[in-house]
Symmetry: C2
Subunit: 152 residues, 2 copies
DNA sequence: TCAATAGGGTTGCATTATGAAACCGAATTG
DNA sequence: CAATTCGGTTTCATAATGCAACCCTATTGA
């Protein structure tokens, strides 16, 4: 049967995964963050099958993560550019990258060294924070509504 | 043909997606963060097929995201608990949740109101930061090595 | 004691999704 | 005017998914 979709799930994580939760979409977004814009470049850099790339690009455009722009230049006719919505996946991608670097480091390769362009210093590890910037662990957060219900 | 795997990719995002990048794994981790531990509860709360749940739980255990614990209690014999590696997905899940809340809000429902247990205040939006906590946008970061190569 | 139920899985089967390669049409290049 | 390039679509074999049915072990419960 068809893969289960989560378009109308009441969980925003499920709805997010519905748009970028497959094997390729987030990698395409990542590649776009590196500056890739053209179909052939995505295809070569990711090693993705062309029909799958077409499908994913279409869905990302449909979901307003990428915008398909007609550029009339010699041969390269379209560009896929990140929208604001797509750029807003930056924290997601960085969090995922840091998790991968920490728990599945490449055996013979240093992790990518992302740095602040202004200061030249490495970016800091992503963390969930309270309003003052104090780091919060999983056990430090709660859902007021749910916990009230459970208490009542 | 077989789905492409990224076990040995030089990209840590690809390696991360290889472990939790399918349609269900991250939702299982999310559910585990809510406190779910038992097979039947995952099954009912997620509405996932039993064989798929088995497969995903096994893979998450294999990848040390969950730990399978034998609890001899009446009927409920096993628990799947988050490991440190699994708990470390907290920023990823929160980033994804906030992205979903912002760009695909539920039509007739408020976003989940996660709060700091100590202060009672809402958690702040996830952001990529420099060493001082200054927020960084996509355009503010760069890869020193790559940029040197390109300059050279 | 013996049937009913719950937990945690497997198995079979139909439906989809994926990957590789071949093919296509328009525009450029040589 | 033949060969490329870009951006796709088509075909086909293989893998993944979802559902329902089944299984085995404990535990109830009467």
């Amino acid at each position: 049967m068809a893969r289960k979709r989560f378009d109308d799930s009441n969980c925003s994580v499920a709805r997010a995964l519905n748009e970028v939760g497959d094997w390729w979409s987030l990698l395409i977004v990542l590649q776009a963050m590196y500056g890739t814009r053209r179909y052939v470049d995505f295809q070569q850099q990711l090693g993705i099958a062309k029909n799958i790339l077409c499908d994913r690009l279409s869905r990302l455009v449909e979901n307003d993560v990428l915008a398909k722009v007609d550029v009339g230049e010699h041969g390269s006719r379209y560009e896929y550019r990140l929208t604001d919505k797509g750029r807003d996946l930056f924290p997601v991608v960085i969090a995922l990258r840091q998790w991968g670097d920490k728990w599945n480091p490449a055996p013979d390769q240093a992790a990518l060294d992302l740095r602040d362009r202004a200061s030249g210093r490495p970016i800091s590890p992503m963390q969930v924070q309270d309003a003052d910037g104090k780091p919060l662990a999983l056990r430090d957060v709660f859902l007021p509504d749910l916990d009230e219900e459970q208490a009542g």
